[in-house]
Amino acid sequence: MTWLPEWVVLEGLAILGATCGAVGSLALLRRQNLLADTLAHAALPGICLAYLITGEKDLPLLLLGAAVSGTLGVWLILAIVQTSRLKQDAALGIVLSTFFALGLLLLTYLQNFPAGNQAGLNTFIYGQVAYLRGDHVRWMLGVGVIVLFLIALLYKEFKLVCFDPEYAQTLGLRRRLLEFLLAMLLVLTVLISLRSVGVVLTVGLLTAPAAAARQWTNRLSAMIVLAAGIGVVCSWIGALWSQNVPLTPAGPAIVLTASVFMLGSLLLAPRRGVLAEWLRQLAHRRKVRLENLLSDFYRLGEIRHVWDRPWSVADLAAVRGLTPDAVRRTLNDLEDAGLAVESDGGWQLTQQGLDEAARIVRMHRLWELYLSRRLDLAADHTHRDAEAMEHVLTPELVAELEAALEHPETDPQGKPIPRGRPLAENHERN
């Protein structure tokens, strides 16, 4: 039978997931995820010392210790960067591992005390949701609500400081104060997640929901709300998992769930997703294939001075050395698009196809001319570049090119730059 977590646990996890998602979004945009990780790891010795000194295992007291040593760790990073030649990533690595090592040492030492063993300090490493009590949750709720309220209240200010801190400063926004507040929000968020997710993995719940949310929206407000929602869902799923499968600590369960959300978003998001990008590339390759064949039709017509006769697949394949099968596939696509028709055992462009072919050749030759005139490239060096550009030039760019080249008639090799559909008189001459 499935064991459902108590309502109070779900409540605590909800506020935790929402806070982590929201604060994580701001941290992600400020690239402070590793800082948050260091902060969380650096909290461990503080927790142990707080217990060692007071002998109490009161959550607020332990978290006070965590806050002190976490903040000390962050301050140490800044001090190392400012006074030594070490860069920030090195400073982060050193502080993170040193503080965590110290924490582990203290923890082992404490476990040799009979009382220390029962204090449950171990839970702070990998997290635990099972014994979340009402008073724990009240703390999480209080802190989380303050954090979320501050983000809502100072949304405009935080947004500007995340996007363009120097500009914010010139406007008279208190940049240092806002950055300090953002850092404090991060500290508070890390603190309330330590008991449930643990020092090692808190960074995961801060980062993954935010990164997932970023994939689905281009608005900061929507990103924050979505990340908070994902955070809640992940915490709940992770808690269920952890409660029902023996030997599953809550931290890994929650963070792995969040990672699944993130991975899915990275792959599937409609505009920023890997899959969407892959489909776009596929579509572009198809476009290039079609446009290349159209321009091949044009070049054949130009060489032979005939525009309205059909060409055999072999003729078309010979232009750029394609296989007949590949050409046939592309021809079928052109036919579907209404740009080419099959006739007399060969293939011929429709009027629309001829227009399109002329447009592509025109862009190709304009670009060649531009390269050879402006960059002084030899005429035989411009073709490959123009092959790529002919598929991507926008009408505005073409207009600008023409103006810059003073409406040229011929390309560097002296071939005419087509203006619209090739004229019937061309083939009447033959």
Binding site: C162, D164, E166, N218
Partner: protein
């Protein structure tokens, strides 16, 4: 001047005469006195004295690392001065910031930030709005008008990561316009923009000047300076010369700006730096 706090929010553009009155006064727009700026003990500006006149289009010119950006940033208080001071219409910057709009280098922000073009332009109104207040209908319509003046009203809802370099620059300028300032400080507004954008920008800068505003822009293309600007500030760690283009933009001055005569100054700076760091 000084009480020229922007009359905005309504739908009226101030007429250019009103604006001229608002942006002129007994004190010069920018006065820089004996300014020295150092990054971690390495001086990047030495003893700069500069008085910028009203209603001019001014180019700030100099080789890479000459301190052009630093000069702009220290005018708006982003970089503290090691010595000397800057005054805006006779008062310190922090009392006059509503009169100054700063346009940073385009590359200084992350253009993949989740926000729209209109939202970025609205940021220009944040200083006026103050704490907690959100931009409302008045600010939105102002932001749209600023986008229109830059010819990109159709991009208002666009996500900023989809903009070209020229469009990004226009968005930054629209944001500065939304500040409705008397002094515009622009860091390389022409860098990496297309020809159409360059024409649009210079036209806008001329409009601003004709309304009595002062524009100071870091500029790299020496060829276009006589055509675009009225005044030029030649800078290379110290001030080489400043004045009307016709008088100051001379081959001799350019030689002094870009030539090798500053080696001693650079070397001195290096020696200073090494000593501070305890190296031989």
């Amino acid at each position: 001047m000084t009480q020229a706090a922007s009359v905005r929010g309504d739908n009226e553009e101030p007429t250019s005469d009103q604006r001229k009155a608002a942006c002129s006064g007994p004190f010069p727009p920018i006065e820089v006195h004996d300014l020295t700026v150092a990054y971690q003990t390495r001086p990047v500006l030495w003893d700069v004295d500069l008085v910028v006149p009203e209603a001019r289009l001014i180019a700030v010119v100099g080789p890479n690392g000459a301190g052009k950006t630093t000069l702009l940033k220290s005018i708006v208080g982003l970089i503290p001065a090691s010595a000397g001071w800057v005054k805006i219409y006779g008062k310190p910057y922090r009392e006059q910031r509503h009169l100054v709009a700063y346009v940073p280098q385009r590359a200084s922000v992350d253009w993949d930030f989740p926000t729209s073009v209109l939202d970025v332009v609205l940021m220009g109104t944040y200083g006026r709005l103050g704490w907690f207040r959100r931009p409302g209908r008045a600010e939105r319509s102002l932001a749209r008008r600023c986008l229109e003046r830059l010819g990109i009203a159709d991009l208002a809802r666009r996500q900023i990561s989809e903009l070209s370099g020229g469009q990004q620059q226009r968005v930054f300028l629209a944001r500065a316009l939304a500040q409705d300032a008397c002094i515009y400080l622009m860091d390389e507004p022409f860098a990496g923009v297309d020809a159409t954008t360059e024409r649009a920008i210079i036209q806008l800068l001329r409009q601003l000047r004709d309304q009595g505003r002062t524009v100071l822009a870091v500029h790299h293309d020496l060829q276009t300076i006589p055509e675009y600007f009225d005044w030029v500030v030649l800078l290379n760690l110290r001030l080489i010369a400043a004045g009307p283009v016709a008088e100051v933009f001379t081959p001799a001055n350019l030689q002094r700006t870009y030539g090798g005569q500053l080696k001693i100054l650079t070397q001195a700076a290096d020696v200073l730096l090494r000593r501070e760091e305890g190296r031989p």
